[in-house]
């Protein structure tokens, strides 16, 4: 795999700035999460942590798409979309299968079938989100790459 950056130096600087803001947003929210933890039930605490993770993910995705940046190393396209969907599907299948086997004492076959069901839907959902993200980033890039009106 070629790990050379796909961004030019201005985009690289912009991405570093977005990552900087993303880090401090995560830091602040995790700090609030830690302060609130003694007052929350285990389930609420887990939900809050998951919500913080999703807020930061959402912020990073929107900020990158708005600046026409997709990724430092991966190129937009069906290969990345398919690869991400497959990776998400496989990871969820493995985790859910092991969880089913250990927590609910299912035999491996049934644990794997249940895991596969969840994994396939996770993969499909990831693929759809990636397609939407790719389309919106491409649209934004087209807008940003338009020549200014005084430039003929």
């Amino acid at each position: 795999m070629n790990w050379k950056t796909k961004l030019d130096e201005r985009q690289e600087q912009k991405l570093l700035k977005i990552e900087h803001y993303g880090f401090w947003l995560l830091f602040g929210l995790i700090f609030i999460d830690v302060l609130l933890m003694p007052f929350l039930t285990k389930l609420s605490s887990m939900a809050l942590t998951a919500a913080i993770f999703l807020i930061v993910c959402f912020f990073m995705i929107i900020a990158c798409a708005w600046n026409g940046i997709f990724d430092r190393h991966f190129k937009m396209g069906w290969k990345t979309t398919l690869g991400t969907a497959l990776a998400a599907g496989i990871v969820v299948t493995v985790i859910i299968s092991i969880q089913n086997h250990l927590l609910y004492n299912s035999d491996w076959f049934h644990a794997l079938m249940a895991g596969l069901f969840t994994g396939i839907f996770t993969g499909l959902l990831t693929g759809i989100i990636m397609l939407i993200l790719t389309a919106s980033t491409k649209k934004r890039q087209r807008t940003l790459e338009q020549e200014p009106k005084d430039e003929d």
Binding site: R10, G68, L144, E147, E151
Partner: protein, 71 residues
């Protein structure tokens, strides 16, 4: 500080921002921001732009002290 010298040189060679960007291997927005004085390019990128425009660094990136003070 706007880089009018670079813009003038680009126009002189009948190049659009997109064409210059493609030749210098950057995005159109990057060229636009350099010309608008909102992005300071690295020496590597300055040299790449100079190669495309067939000029020296001094010709488009050097500012006289008097000119700098005016801006």
């Amino acid at each position: 500080m706007k880089n009018t010298k670079m813009k003038a040189q680009r126009k002189k060679q009948h190049l659009s921002q997109t064409e210059l960007a493609q030749k210098a291997n950057v995005t159109r927005q990057t060229i636009g921001l350099i010309e608008a004085g909102e992005f300071n390019p690295s020496l590597k990128l300055c040299i790449a732009i100079c190669h495309v425009l067939n000029v020296t660094l001094d010709e488009i990136f050097w500012e006289d002290q008097d000119h700098e003070l005016e801006n």
